[in-house]
Symmetry: C2
Amino acid sequence: MTIKEIAQLAGVSSAAVSRYLNGGYVSEEKKEQIRKVIEETGYQPSAQARILRTKKACLVGVVVPKINSESISRVTAGIEQVLSRRGYQMLLASTDNDPDKEITYLKLFESYPVDGIILIGTVITGEHRKFLKNAKVPVVVVGQYTKYANCIYHDDYGAGKAMGRLVAAEVRKGQTAAGTAVQKAQNADVPEDGGYRRKVAYIGVTKEDKAVGVSREDGFRSGLKSEGIMLEPDYVRTAEFTMDSGYHAALGLLEDKQDIRIISCATDTIAAGAIEAILAYSRQNVPHTVADSGTRMQYILNHSGIRVTGFGDNQFLKAVTGGIPTVHFGYKTSGIRGAELLLDVIERGEKIPVEMKLGFRLEEPKEEWER
Amino acid sequence: MTIKEIAQLAGVSSAAVSRYLNGGYVSEEKKEQIRKVIEETGYQPSAQARILRTKKACLVGVVVPKINSESISRVTAGIEQVLSRRGYQMLLASTDNDPDKEITYLKLFESYPVDGIILIGTVITGEHRKFLKNAKVPVVVVGQYTKYANCIYHDDYGAGKAMGRLVAAEVRKGQTAAGTAVQKAQNADVPEDGGYRRKVAYIGVTKEDKAVGVSREDGFRSGLKSEGIMLEPDYVRTAEFTMDSGYHAALGLLEDKQDIRIISCATDTIAAGAIEAILAYSRQNVPHTVADSGTRMQYILNHSGIRVTGFGDNQFLKAVTGGIPTVHFGYKTSGIRGAELLLDVIERGEKIPVEMKLGFRLEEPKEEWER
DNA sequence: CTGTTAGCGCATTCAG
DNA sequence: CTGAATGCGCTAACAG
């Protein structure tokens, strides 16, 4: 069904139909004829041809590293909110954390009819920079700093530092009299551990991710250091952005080191994996004579004495565990701001580059850390 | 940058450039000239214009109800897997569970250059049926049955029934001597409960969702019934597909009824909310004198005596809780099959309609239910 | 091998 | 107000 056929059926010119569709001058009479024909045929104009002409799609493409993520969905929720309010639609492309795919989809969107692109950034490679420099459509990057595009990022260093301080304080507390009772219980569980659990371990991500892999970790070290605690190389692992990867990293840590007090993780998802690992490890190492089945699980939870922290304030994790110390970033806000920035460029041709840094909020569970 | 300009710069015709781009006959000499110009200008052909001509985008659009969902991401992972292997790309549109938005995005994709559409279905309204009947591009529906398009769905009824049976068995067990010790402990916690906890509660979703809201629940009732247990109306609530909604529904249940033994939920996400509610409710109702802080939490977990079941086999939930009884559906498989079906229609013009029903696997945690 | 030509479906001149 | 004509950027015939 093309506009021409509609025009023929309605006995008017295609231009009249076009005007009808776009609110131009059409006599009431012809309007009615056209309306009827369109009704009958269920005609829908080809967005694509229109865009080819008008260069305006009222569409923005969003490139995301993965689909199944609370933080990312918060960002896209923010984007969608402002986009829909301003008459735009949003298309998503998921890259499964593959930088090559990222480029592919960026190019797809570029040569495709979208008015702008939002990239939820992970790793910024040379290819990325090249793309950003020459992009034919406006691009804003969310979640990473870059000088090659408007960007909105989070204070990962500050967040890491705050978390480092919090962890340091907790470890300190364990060394005072207040923690003694608990410590004794632990020692019963892990007899090979001559002293207290007091080491801090960290599960990070690839250094190629400047925000999460570098800033967050650097901040964390700095926070610990400011309280006189060092993060020892043996106690640091690298994981992917998945629970499964966090599980394996944490399990490795637990098997290698018996004196870990806290496992801090670069994301809540990794932290979930770490929790799983603690459950699995303890289940395996706590003697069966201690207790059986359900009761034994409670025993483990109570006495493993290993704490986990994360970043991202994942609601799912909070719900089912009661909450671990984590950091709330303004993900939805960054989506909102990102979309606004993009629309400013698209609609008003705003040329002044913008870099925006968003703060964070340390989240400590109200009750004693449950785990 | 257009193909014409490139042609001019290279001193050839635009057709030659087009051939160069698409692997047609071009002399080595001209090839070199064109290559150079493209290199210099960073020219990228307009996919849109190409598609306008060729009617082939090597793209499929996927409409999903939400982004942050493990089950949906498993489906899209399956889709992506076969798509990329066959040279296609995938674009996503998220509707935030809004049927109107669903229609909007379906139409967008239709009038947009995609070769086919996959709809991950929730509610199929009249509008949906109308769209499916007249769609100009092939559509396959995943997750819901429909006669208006190729569809792949899951055996929700069977899964519900299996879960109903499992739950019935668990309730039965509680009424035998084997459960006595535990029951006594419970009674200590909930003194106002004169007898045993033995009621089954269910948190479902809107009946407009035929698969999850109707089939799954009907199956569940049937499973219970086959073991002589009825699901009483007072013990049934409806929730949205969110953890938060599950939390509120479960909390309402707990406040109204003191004799609930098991809360079965239509999805694992809702189940996570229910778990949160049990924690919150118990925390509030267990006397502080029993124990304090961490120990108290363990006490709650151990003695609330309320079990939760779900559907969907959410890995995150499994990891952090140790697992609840749930059902594994072949989500990734349905994505794979769905994409294959779609490509069959797109590439080979397959005309025979297909309805595919996929099975399930009941997942029981290996250890005693932890919660 | 190559350039010329004719559209794809639409919106926008510009004369009527 | 209206229709015929033009071209968005590209590819597919077609005749060189």
